[in-house]
Amino acid sequence: MAPTTNTLDRTNYLNATKGFMSWFWTIDHKRLGLMYLWSVIACFIMGGLFAMKIRLTLMPGAVDFATQTAEQMNAYNNAFTVHGAVMVFLVIIPSIPAALGNFVLPLMLGAKDVAFPRLNRFSYHLWIIGALLFVATLLIGNLDTGWTFYPPYSTGHTDPSVITAVLGAFILGFSSIFTGLNFIVTIHKMRPPQMTWFKMPLFLWAIYATAVIQVLATPVIGISLLLILVEKTMQIGIFTPELGGDPVFFQHLFWFYSHPAVYIMVLPGMGIMSELFATFSRKPIFGYKSIAMSSIAIAIFSFIVWGHHMFISGQSDLMSVIFSALTFSVAVPSAIKVFNWISTMYKGSISFSVPMLYGMSIIWLFGIGGLTGLFLATLGTDVVFHDTYFVVAHFHYVMVGSALFGFIGGIYYWWPKMYGKVVDDPLAKVGWLLSFLGFNLTFLPQFVGGSKGMPRRYAAYGSEQGFDDWNYWSTMGAMVLLAGLSIALFGLLRSFFVKGALSPANPWGGVTLEWQTPSPPPEHNFEIDPPTVGDPYDMSLVEYRGEVEGFLPVNPREDDPCVAYIAPEEA
């Protein structure tokens, strides 16, 4: 009998029930993961359109500096605000945990679902409400505060669209908290008996560390946003100098969340990196314990460095010095991860699959992103770079270059599992290459523009200010990036329409448990009792089989050929 590695021709979680309500009201983590995936991609496109508006406006010659009207300036200020808010709250923060984490986490644990499936559904519905509030904001007014909502400007000097935006972000915060809570309980309580902490796949360590941050940090932005709301609607006074309040206090509250938040963005991407490098080097990850512990270290340190966003905010000099010193602490565990990934490749068997291309390019992108952070952690140089395009370039390198590329790499990696289809390779590789080149061309010039003094959030620059060259190349890069990402998305979508190209259960040769169930998985994840847990990176458990164009266990369990048999003593 042919191995049941692909189930597109029979019942699986995609076709088990049909109709809108069977999806919208589902508690199946896999379906929720997919809905998050497409919702996040839709919002990414929306945020991306605003990015294009920014870059096209800043193209030298597009706008006459002398005659740009107030309406045009307001439109630009609205564009960068919506771009930032949508990308941060609707896209990058939920992306990997909500879309990929939801799908993969229970599978990797050999479980049937997360700990609280109905809470999971509620999280998604909250996300939808948050998204709708953001769309409403676009229609109501001209939100122009920046995604950072600093008072007194946001509370006393701009229009009511702040209210719906802040409400939207507040609700999205709860979506994030509940997802994190769900993941923490799932990982604590639903691991199979043999899967001790240090036998967990590293993606789960990353998701766990992320969930801890989500749960601890997000409530603080929640209350901060609530305070902006009461400040704006009732003039409560806490941030308003005319009433005796302190605007810098808001910045402390805001960044207490928003700094750990950037690790919510990047840690899951790093978790995916570990999976990719192990699978596509056909080797255990080098330094497993280091990577696991560094994830926890990053989560902890992320909470004590927020003041590095505020070196020149008017906070005391002593605080600035302390925060600068502490900020370097978070650089070390990040660097350790990079070294361990590269060491995984040593004496491996490297495959240049599409996910691995994303993974390897992240070494370059995170390298630049992380290293440019050093300039910002250092007080002397941060004074020069604060609120210039240097910072913009830095955070795009880490948020897009690392988190987003990790997300895309993860989508390509788990796509065969999610949809049972293989993605057109050459097209996907072109998409990757154009995205990588376009991204670098967009943001490398911004480092130099910034070091020359080019401030952020400017609706236009006069030519004599000397930033034209940098803006020109940056906009050209944005076009290439747009092309690349479009092709990448197209490559994924195309797999739906291509006949054949079916994926086996294990196209890549991973050993984590999601690869030991058919593609796509059945409704309850595993056709029989879940697989036994072995070493998640013992690649010798599976071997390549031409007849399935994928990998199968060397020693399959009698009742299911997808699943590796591991004798109880070895587990």
Binding site: P117, I184, T218, I223, I238, D246
Partner: protein, 249 residues
């Protein structure tokens, strides 16, 4: 074959055992309560920061809070924590009738708390002892900006009977302005707490309805247990608020 047929009763399909289900719920509610603590934390930090910078202002402002009503509210909440804790025991032992009674008493206490709070708030709106940005606030930097109607009857403003240590109208303008910040913090803290009491009342009512339907017993009391934990946190937050706001004169 899958093991769906012999799945334990009352256990959700994705859990193996009832114990796993209960343990998960317990960890879940504790994690959630941790997020609630952090949610309030920013307001406590605001309190600490402003009090640290303006200790005399906060001490002065505290005299406008009715310590007796605050103490009464504290007792009311403590009683409600006792009754809900007892209710959990009732649920564990299948004492449905006692659970109903305890839930009702808890609800009455919660309602009582809100009534007392409403009275306190109403008094403050009448007196003008509000955050500076409110149009009726007497804590304006410029004394001439105070609403004359409020100034006419506000005891805090003119201190006619000498019950306060000074009349607000005679205070140094900056000092007066900072009093507005105290009340900003006061209303945010007690307001957020009050919202949590209301949410608690909704949850307790839900428990009551479910109990009247006979849903709780020794094999199914998790919901009571977990909501009781939430209620204890709401009580605990008030235990912190009361001395910090009311007892610092």
């Amino acid at each position: 074959m899958s093991s769906h047929d012999n799945h334990p009763e009352g256990v959700a399909h994705h859990f193996e055992t009832a114990e796993q289900q209960f343990d998960s719920g317990k960890l879940g509610i504790w994690t959630f309560l941790l997020t609630e603590v952090l949610f309030f934390s920013a307001l406590f930090v605001a309190y600490t920061m402003y009090r640290d910078n303006y200790p005399e202002v906060f001490q002065f402002a505290s005299q406008y809070l009715d310590t007796n009503l605050g103490a009464l509210n504290t007792l009311v909440l403590l009683l409600s924590s006792f009754t809900i804790a007892w209710g959990v025991r009732n649920a564990m032992l299948g004492e449905t009738k006692m659970l109903t009674i305890n839930l009702i008493i808890t609800l009455i206490c919660a309602a009582g708390f809100m009534v007392i709070k409403a009275e306190e708030y109403g008094h403050k709106f009448h007196e003008g002892t509000l955050w500076g940005g409110h149009e009726h606030s007497i804590f304006q930097l410029d004394a001439s900006k105070v609403d004359p109607e409020i100034a006419a009857h506000s005891k805090a403003w003119s201190n006619p009977d000498g019950e306060f240590s000074a009349a607000v109208k005679d205070l140094d303008p900056e000092f007066r302005q900072k009093l507005g910040i105290f009340f900003g913090v006061y209303f945010c803290l007690t307001g957020l707490h009050g919202i949590h009491v209301l949410i608690g009342m909704i949850l307790l009512t839900w428990l009551l309805i479910r109990n009247l339907r006979g849903e709780f017993g020794p094999k199914n009391f998790a919901a009571v247990d977990f909501i009781a934990l939430y209620w204890h946190l709401v009580d605990l937050i008030w235990i912190f608020l009361f001395p910090l706001l009311y007892l610092i004169s």
